[in-house]
Subunit: 256 residues, 2 copies
């Protein structure tokens, strides 16, 4: 096992990292995910996956021997300032992995699902993936227009939930019937109160754009509309907050 040290901004790997950090679509194109920081690396290993490459700051050699990675995993040390300059997170995590991006998959029928309709905010998307994994949902479908699920900011907010879920990007409305699931939507003005409703399991929760909500087509496709009681007044909820409440409600009823 040996470690290469890179100090040049023009190195091919450095250029690749820069692209991965800046461009949400680069991951799909290069077939790689860059997992920055100890937490994400650990979460990947906990799911039984191995990275293609371990990347660490030159000043932090102990990471070469962390986690008992097999010698076959390539180790690269990057000059500290260089690593900081290509970080996508504006911080300089001293360690990270490059991991082959999972191949695109099709939706699988019958699996408890969360569907994202054009969600824009990486923090919201990551938070929802985390809630989905915590509450026993297995599959997330992202309709076209949703933030790239493997983008660095979504990965950071997801805190490892990505590795626990079947992630389907570029899904379309035509994928919905094949799910063979009841489709649940929140609504501000129609349907039963969520806290009084009987919720089916498995199901698919439909979550819509931060400003516009669900598209009319999805609202019409929903088999059940549910309202979250908001006694505080006319205020509305952040979509990831609403999602947490809904997915938790499903998980609790399933357990009862």
């Amino acid at each position: 096992m040996s470690t290469e040290t890179i100090r040049s901004r023009d190195n091919a790997l450095v250029k690749q990292l820069r692209r991965l950090g800046q461009d949400g679509a680069a991951g799909r194109e290069l077939g790689l995910v860059w997992l920055e920081g100890e937490h994400l690396c650990r979460a990947l290993l906990a799911r039984g996956h191995l990275p293609a490459l371990l990347l660490r700051a030159e000043s932090a050699p102990h990471w070469d021997h962390a986690w008992a990675l097999p010698p076959s995993v390539r180790r690269v040390a990057l000059a500290d300032s260089l690593l900081a300059s290509v970080s996508s997170l504006g911080s300089s995590a001293p360690v990270g992995f490059l991991w082959p991006l999972p191949a695109a998959v099709a939706p699988e029928p019958g699996r408890p699902t969360v569907l994202l309709d054009r969600l824009q905010d990486p923090g919201n998307v990551g938070s929802i993936l985390r809630s989905a994994a915590a509450f026993g949902f297995e599959q997330v479908l992202a309709l076209k227009g949703t933030a790239a699920l493997w983008a660095p900011k979504v990965l950071r907010a997801g805190m490892g939930a990505h590795f626990a879920l079947r992630l389907v990007e570029a899904a379309t409305l035509a994928d919905l019937p094949a799910l063979q699931l009841p489709l649940l939507a929140t609504s501000s003005h129609q349907g039963q109160w969520l806290h009084q409703a009987a919720l089916p399991w498995p199901c698919a929760w439909l979550l819509g754009h931060e400003g516009q909500g669900l598209s009319p087509e999805l609202l019409a496709a929903a088999s059940q509309h549910l309202r979250i009681a908001q006694p505080g007044g006319e205020e509305s909820l952040n979509v990831a907050a609403a999602a947490a409440i809904c997915l938790h409600a499903s998980a609790v009823q399933r357990g009862a």
Copy 2:
């Protein structure tokens, strides 16, 4: 009613806006909040408040006459590129208000409360303010170390919830007894399941730092520990997602 037009980067007001956008503490120092965008402006007016100043892009004169503001409200047009350059949100909302920052207030006993213990992420803090307002909580205490509640990114994520809440910044542990409320904390390993617990009202929910959770002092001060069922596995929840679930549970029990 007349509108001043500003095109110079060195104008005193422009300098002030730049500081407000860049520095979370500047608002408190200058005694001003900058509300960017139509939604926040509308939310302020809906609560019966008036701005000190209306700020709009030079290319959008119709904003001078929006909302039937009294002539006493100063109108300023900023050259579009100048407005975009001082925007704190990386976007260029064509309209905004400057509003006198509410004077610092002390916690009020007995009011349904949410306490933030060193929360860092502006999106999380804003989302929690929104949930608090939606679920009938009236007061938010931010312990030292929490993101500035009136910072631009928190305001944006709060979507107007700021104006519905009593916001207490720089709170300390010494403020807790004076609240005269049961203090509720979430825990991953002790206490009752949230969905089976009887929750007191009014109460104060304690929410902790994104990575470290609540401080040991706050955990010890809590009168009740509640667990959120997470059948999906070892995953954890984003703090704003957990907050939404807890505050909703309180609201639902209160209504029953």
